[in-house]
Symmetry: none
Subunit: 213 residues, 4 copies
């Protein structure tokens, strides 16, 4: 008999119980709401646990590796929902200009449908810097999405659907304008988000439109 198996065994990392997944989802949902309501910095485990009806913060630490892990799941969840909501709507359109309008309008329709998701996403992404290891990645993901969007715009420019402009600046302007509506909606409960969406769509349609003959 000799000393054996000196390195820890590891379960298949994807294996997760039903109840475990349910709990995680429940906690993520609570986190989204708390973050949207009180902001990232005040969204402590204690508050999230209370909101989720859990008896202790240890519960959250039990299901998530740490605050970063939870926040990552928040981002993943919101992006999942956003993708599922927006992509089919956008892809249903065929010409560049309509896609652009639909991108903006479906993004804000998503805000109407899930009023806490986008505020939470913005809170998390703006309160994360170079630190927090695995979360910085999502800043990268967002930037990548913006790059793809800009590339689409450049295609539109090549085929004459759009005028000449700096596509990166345009994409970020759109992004900023939409996020501003998200922020306003949180501060002004009565705001007609759908109407804002139409206005923004018009703004960026005019800003991108090719007026050459």
């Amino acid at each position: 008999m000799q000393a054996s198996n000196s390195s820890d065994k590891q379960d298949a990392p994807g294996a997760r119980t039903f109840t475990e997944s349910a709990r995680r989802a429940q906690i993520v949902a609570a986190a989204i709401e708390v973050i949207a309501e009180v902001g990232y910095s005040k969204a402590s485990f204690a508050r999230i646990a209370r909101h989720a009806g859990l008896s202790s913060t240890g519960m959250i630490s039990y299901h998530f590796a740490g605050k970063d892990d939870l926040m990552r799941e928040v981002v993943v969840e919101v992006m999942r929902v956003a993708e599922a909501y927006m992509r089919p709507r956008i892809e249903a359109e065929s010409d560049f200009s309509a896609r652009l309008r639909t991108h903006i309008e479906s993004n804000l329709a998503l805000l109407v449908e899930y009023p806490k998701h986008l505020p939470a996403l913005i809170e998390v992404l703006t309160n994360v810097r170079g630190d927090s290891a695995g979360l910085g990645e999502f800043v990268g993901v967002t930037e990548e999405m913006n790059r793809v969007l800009a590339e689409r715009m450049r295609e539109g420019q090549r085929v004459g659907a759009f005028r000449e402009f700096d596509a990166d600046v345009m994409v970020h302007a759109m992004r900023g304008a939409i996020d501003e509506v998200v922020g306003r909606a949180a501060r002004e409960p009565g705001l007609d988000v759908t109407a804002c969406g139409r206005e923004l769509a018009e703004i960026f349609d005019r800003a991108t439109r090719n007026t050459a003959p």
Copy 2:
């Protein structure tokens, strides 16, 4: 440029010695830099004191009624600088469209001149909620400024300089687009902010332009 007296101490309204004002200004300047560099949530008194070359956080508490008070001064200072920088440039223009362009371009020129001021302002304003007593006021101030801006736009619409659109949405879109450049500039050091300003100006010129005959 003098230290402002816009926030009064409890007992002696407006009265403040020179050294006191100098200390406050020094601390506010340090706070702006720290907030811009590490973000609002990590901008603790300890970090600000260290950055200002102070030996203890007690110094800050001594000069400011609390964190809210300091943050209010940060906002006041940045707005003072912004106002001093942008207003004359904007007022030098006479027609609506030029004023709009100048608003955007001077705002981003300000970012080039004072790279920490606008990031700090945005950090503070986005990390403040209904709580923190006297700070919510500044969200109101900002909204008031936006309302004034929107009113100018409506004037422009009345005289036919601008097309018909929801002026509030337009103002916030501008606001969001500019703030996005501020954020990008922090993440991408090489970004040509001036060029972004020109692009944004073009975007919102086209978005507001009256194309009717």
Copy 3:
């Protein structure tokens, strides 16, 4: 080699199924390795469970009455192995001096054979104080073993095999010197433990040798 039954469960004294014993043995083996590798204080149930390929710490609590119980089994197991290894080798020798040498050398040979056992034992015994109910007993067991050893030495003194010295101090010196090699072996992987054993044997042979005519 069989799983021992030295620690009884509450109700059914001595009765333990095969799987139960196997599980206990598996956990004890994992505990020995973990303790040797990361030290007593970091050897949490979580780590031991992971090392043993178990999915939860509940498993350990299920099979052991508590951490003390597990640690007691660790001690028992190591002592069992040590006894089985060293005793026949020592008893094969007939004169006092040879027994002393063999005691030291077989102790360190045991370290070569089971590199994790002695480190684990030392970790447990040095991290246990008067508290932890049933574990203090083992400090007593160890002391008892030392007393027996000292008694043997005094016999050797009576028959003139050893010089006069304080047998307790001598035994503890031996103990300390051996344990120090155990510690060194953990810190210096290339250490020639067998050679250390020969050197130690020589040291204590000279320290005990009767030089009188």
Copy 4:
């Protein structure tokens, strides 16, 4: 006016108030006693603070950068005391053999004089592994001290004062034998440590003595 001093200022690191130093010393003293009494793993900030008559653990965190920092100070303090106590006594002796005896005896005399210091030192050093950044250094310091000691022994061998043996093993044997007395003294309050010192000195004198003509 441009943004300036973007990197935090730093006080001269050695600057420390009188009261600050006194508090630190008080906390270190309390830590030494607590560690010696309940062991490293149970020596929590809470316990140390209580022992020192402080009202909160925050007090300790205020004066020390963390647990590692406090432990480092504990080690430094004990080594400082040990050095001040042992060195002059050892250096008062001129021949190798007397120095060896004095090393052992003064080490244990130190234990009589400061009964908590050595137990605390041993606790800290044995409960630190590769982790805890700045503390691993002290394992190195200890090893360095052992190397120096071994070098002295080899000098003694070269001049014929000592017989041939592995000096490293001898030094560690001495170390282990002394530490074992430290441990015993904690468990057996009545132990005559001075007598143990004499016995150990005799043991290692005989173990090293050159018996060749």
